[in-house]
């Protein structure tokens, strides 16, 4: 059994965000992390590997710097890592990205019994679209928002979170499952894992390697080919600032209570 884990290197948007003069995010000035939900997918793959035996392949699309993240995933326990990287792929939206990653997986081979795991969504875009779109391109069943994955032979029973409860869904592999935080607690890499990572293969697939893939259409990849384009990006206006209350803690609290009473809020 081969388990592909789709991962993304993302800027750490929880900290300070560097912005270019034109209003876009300056990714080079921000620390990067492995997308949090993807770590849950990785953990699920490693758990399955320990129980059932499997080859875990971490796969990502990104700039060459993402190779560093691939080493971390190898240190966590992945057996192989594949980085799809090429200028032609840069600026891809979810439609474009999913066909490139699907093309990469098709290129490497996926057969009965195999599994693709993804995080639900990446914190830089929050779209949750690439997982389902990879499944569609590869004609595989999908289950999103997994909080529990039980394997029985080639059948997976997946608990899928809904806003007000859950559904249990049964699918046969090969299939694609997207994982959320509630699924598990991702492990850390070990010192031994870090040493072993250097011995493990890291494959780079560039445009040349994938250009004949039938799943990849040359005219719908990259910034220019992506179906969706940014028309405008902007900051919301600064709302006419309200009143900053002054004085000691007690004085501020009293001033607030006065104003709330005057407005009949209390």
């Amino acid at each position: 059994m081969k388990i592909y884990v789709c991962v993304k290197q993302v800027p750490d948007t929880s900290g300070v965000v560097a912005v270019n003069p034109d209003g876009t995010m300056n990714r080079s000035k921000m620390p990067t992390i492995i997308n949090p939900d993807d770590l849950n997918a990785m953990e699920a793959a490693l758990t399955l590997k320990e129980r059932e035996g499997a080859t875990v392949v971490a796969i990502s699309m990104g700039p060459p710097q993402a190779g560093e993240m691939m080493r971390e995933l190898l240190a966590m326990g992945a057996d192989e890592a594949v980085l799809i990287s090429g200028r032609e792929f840069g600026g891809s939206d979810t439609f474009a990205t999913s066909q490139i990653i699907a093309g990469g997986i098709h290129h490497l081979g996926i057969e009965e019994g195999d599994l693709i795991l993804c995080g639900r969504q990446a914190i830089d875009g929050d779209t949750a679209q690439v997982g389902p779109q990879i499944a569609e391109k590869l004609h595989l069943p999908q289950v999103t928002y997994a909080t529990e994955i039980v394997k029985d032979g080639n059948t997976y029973t997946v608990k899928r979170a809904l806003e007000d409860g859950y559904m249990k869904i049964q699918v046969k592999s090969p299939c694609l499952i997207t994982c959320i935080k509630e699924l598990n607690e991702p492990r850390y890499m070990t010192v031994q894992g870090v040493f072993e990572a250097d011995e493990k293969p890291l494959l780079i697939l560039d445009y040349e390697a994938l250009k004949d893939e039938p799943l990849i259409e040359a005219d719908t990849i990259g910034l220019k080919g992506s179906p969706t384009n940014i028309f405008k990006s902007f900051n919301p206006p600064v709302k006419g600032q309200g009143e900053m209350l002054q004085g000691s803690v007690k004085e501020m609290a009293a001033a607030l209570a006065d104003r709330l009473a005057a407005k009949h809020v209390i």
Binding site: V17, D126, Q129, F231, F234, N235, P236, Q241, G242
Partner: protein
């Protein structure tokens, strides 16, 4: 019928809304999306069509007319009673490929976000996730930018004849807003966050006038690869952020003593007349607060009478979820935090010191 080609954009017309039902009941988001779809259809001068899938759900269709749908296409089959990605994708794509709508909107629920991307990939078109604002008419969009952005509209050139749907959403982790277009392919697809669009008043005459077309799909349930074993509602404590009059949310500033902060937030909400404790994304990501309490782009969009932000810096993604509250009070140690830009009243200081005094002062006023 011409073969489906998503690039032949002139063949596509009408605004469609995918209407979700669970347990044979329409969702509130359906009414919000139909109301929003009505505005878009009027801007475009086209029809608004609801698309409803289920088993014996045709009776629900007229209600969608009351919020603005000219027509509802109902796709019925026993296999559509409960949502499965496979059957729903097959049916939505089949009908879309035959009828060719120009726009297809879906709610950004756990189901809409499962269905939308899969359909977009099969329909060979773009999809924009979690939109918070939509325009077709360029005049309306420019007016929106003028009121809601720092763009110098007077000195920017716009192609006024542009009829691409302009889909606005927070971007880059919620630190910027972006307007996205899908100029080369149709349908133009968007998911819309529940609670963002305003529901129009229900109009019985429009409901009566709504055209309903029922299609029997004749699916072969045995051929489906995906089987639903169980659907369960969880009797978890329901946090009604969307319906609350008062929300007191806590953020990173509360992390050092989360238990105390939660207690203070609830006491403050009670002093303000009773309400719910919300959370910023940071505390949810850190595992300190449950996801159902999260306010913001990836959480819930709220507009209570009073919103109090305690120790929240105010990233765009948070502001997107709360800036339309009637009255906003912010408490933060750092006077330069962006949360103060949207606050009616700002208090600079440590929430653990200020909140007890706020509770005292409010009680003294009553």
């Amino acid at each position: 019928m011409a073969e489906y080609n998503s690039k032949a954009i002139e063949e596509f017309s009408d605004i469609w809304v995918f209407c979700e039902q669970r347990d044979g009941k329409l969702m509130n988001t359906d009414f919000e999306l139909i109301s929003e779809g009505r505005k878009l259809a009027d801007q475009r001068g086209s029809k608004l069509v609801g698309l409803l899938l289920g088993d014996q759900v045709a009776d629900l269709a007229k209600e969608l007319g009351g919020y603005g749908a000219d027509k509802v296409i109902v796709c019925e089959d026993p296999a559509l009673k409960i949502y499965t990605n496979e059957a729903y994708t097959d049916v939505v794509c089949k009908v879309v490929m035959e009828r060719k709508p120009e726009v297809l909107l879906l709610g950004a629920s756990n189901i809409g976000r499962d269905l939308g991307p899969r359909c977009a990939a099969r329909l060979h078109t773009g999809l924009t996730a979690d939109c918070t604002h939509l325009d077709i008419d360029m005049n309306t969009y420019v007016d929106f930018l003028d009121k809601n952005s720092n763009v110098d509209v007077a000195n920017t050139e716009f192609k006024m004849e542009d009829v691409n749907m302009k889909m606005t959403r927070p971007a880059f982790g919620g630190h910027l807003m972006a307007t996205i277009i899908c100029p080369r392919f149709r349908p133009c697809m968007a998911t819309v966050r529940p609670g963002v669009m305003k529901k129009a008043p229900f109009d019985q005459a429009k409901a009566d006038a709504c055209e309903v077309e029922v299609l029997q799909m004749g699916l072969n349930a045995d051929a489906l690869h995906e089987k639903v074993l169980e659907v369960a509602k969880e009797a978890k404590e329901i946090v009604d952020l969307i319906g609350a009059d008062v929300i007191v949310s806590i953020g990173n500033g509360a992390a050092k003593d989360i238990a105390r902060a939660k207690e203070l937030a609830q006491q403050l909400a009670d002093a303000l007349g009773g309400g719910v404790v919300g959370s910023s994304r940071a505390l949810v990501d850190a595992g300190l607060m449950s996801a159902d309490r999260q306010v913001g782009q990836t959480g819930k969009t709220v507009h209570p009478k009073v919103y109090v932000a305690l120790g929240i810096s105010g990233a765009i993604q948070h502001k997107a979820g709360m800036q339309n509250s009637e009255l906003i009070i912010a408490v933060n140690k750092n006077e330069n935090e962006p949360i103060f830009e949207v606050a009616d009243y700002g208090l600079v200081g440590d929430l653990f010191q200020i909140v007890p005094e706020m509770i005292e002062a409010i009680k003294a006023q009553k």
